[in-house]
């Protein structure tokens, strides 16, 4: 504290410090995305991926809808075709990373503590613990949560949102921010449809369309190996498309951010 620089002034005593002082207030217009720092980091992550020709996929869903089971089945099916790597996000435990490693695939676990989502900085730190050379597809399994992860760009090329049939076919209507962000929606655990009378896959798809989302909807059961071919084909197509983009120096953001960025950057 001193009497020269003004550091002893508090809002409580400021009015006593000066006689009439012209209020030095100026308003500045900013118009910058609130998450600009995260978005900058995400763009940097995306450059990492593009430089190596990696396809990065962000998997989002409720807890327990089968993200890790889907990954296990996918990694086994693609084992002889591509080199995959996985970043796991959970509040606690290494369990999911261990499940992935048991399939002979490189996995890094991000333990978020109490954070309800992954952000671009957490993913960037994880990338530095991984060997990315030679990797074709990087899966990022976000924290199980249908709310927060949708708001944070990680640098991925695609958002894949899972909806298990034990949840409810109106989930896209209840969590519109999350499902609007989906580049593909996977209806999982479809083998259970036979014993469930309250989940209509067509209704789930209709709710997704009501969000103006044209994303493909794939119905599958990773455990029973049902409908996996469409998903694997989609992955192969996206990897080929990613390589074609990289070859001409282009990249891709999840569709929802493409629109948003276009609109927001007009004034930014």
């Amino acid at each position: 504290m001193c009497d020269t620089c003004g550091c002893n002034l508090t809002p409580g005593n400021k009015h006593l410090a000066f006689k009439p002082v012209p209020k030095g207030a100026t308003a500045v217009s900013v118009l910058k995305g609130l998450l600009a720092k995260n978005d900058d980091q995400a763009a940097h992550n995306r450059e990492h991926f593009d430089k190596r020709g990696i396809l990065a996929i962000n998997l989002m869903s409720s807890p327990g809808s089968g993200k890790t089971a889907l990954l296990e089945a996918t990694l086994v099916a693609l084992k002889n075709e591509f080199t995959c790597a996985v970043i796991e996000g959970d509040l606690e435990t290494e369990n999911d990373a261990e499940r992935i490693r048991a399939k002979g695939v490189q996995a890094h676990q991000i333990v978020t503590g109490t954070a309800c989502h992954l952000d671009a900085h957490l993913v960037h730190d994880a990338l530095h613990h991984m060997t990315l050379d030679g990797v074709d597809i990087l899966f990022i399994e976000n924290v199980g949560n249908l709310v927060c992860p949708a708001s944070f760009d990680l640098g991925q090329h695609f958002n894949v949102t899972l909806l298990s049939v034990t949840e409810g076919d109106d989930k896209p209507a209840k969590y519109p921010v999350m499902f609007r962000a989906a580049d593909a929606m996977l209806l999982t655990k479809t083998d259970l449809l036979a014993v469930l009378d309250d989940f209509d896959p067509d209704k789930a798809e209709a709710h997704l369309r009501n969000l103006a989302n044209p994303a493909p909807v794939m119905r599958l059961s990773a455990r029973k190996n049902l409908g996996m071919d469409a998903w694997l084909t989609w992955l192969r197509e996206q990897l080929a498309a990613q390589r074609a983009r990289v070859a001409i120096g282009q990249s891709r953001r999840p569709a929802i951010q493409g629109d948003g960025m276009k609109y927001h950057s007009v004034t930014a």
């Binding site: 003004g6 400021k14 900013v30 118009l31 954070a115 989502h117 609007r180 103006a212």
Partner: protein, 122 residues
């Protein structure tokens, strides 16, 4: 409750604005949040004082501009308002629409306090 993370990002950005303008602090901060941004203004308002404590905007007022959801129909070309989970065209009902507003998460403007001078007369 990712609003605290958003509040921290907001504090960092306002801090940068204060630096850029060689100001001493911020007195008022206006953000624009659309319903589709996935951030609840009320929760952000609760989280902001925690993130701003001890900073140069510790006493700033946080204000919100609301951004109604507007969609442009790619089929019939009409612009209409829409509900958060029914982003379909209000005129023809088609779902092939584009969001015009409602997903913003923007720092709109900041009111700055210039460095207090102890010799205001000079």
């Amino acid at each position: 409750m990712h609003e605290l993370a958003v509040a921290q990002a907001l504090v960092e950005q306002v801090d940068a604005v204060i630096d850029q303008h060689h100001a001493s602090g911020a007195t008022s901060i206006r953000v624009r949040i659309g319903p589709l941004a996935g951030v609840v203004p009320e929760l952000l308002a609760t989280a902001f004082p925690l993130a701003a404590a001890g900073s140069r905007m510790g006493h700033a007022v946080l204000e919100f501009s609301h951004a109604p959801i507007q969609v442009h129909c790619q089929t019939c070309g009409v612009e209409t308002e829409a509900a958060m989970n029914r982003l379909i065209c209000g005129a023809c009902g088609d779902w092939h629409t584009q969001i015009l507003s409602g997903d913003e998460l923007l720092l709109e403007s900041v009111e700055l306090e210039t460095t207090p001078s102890l010799t205001p007369e000079s």
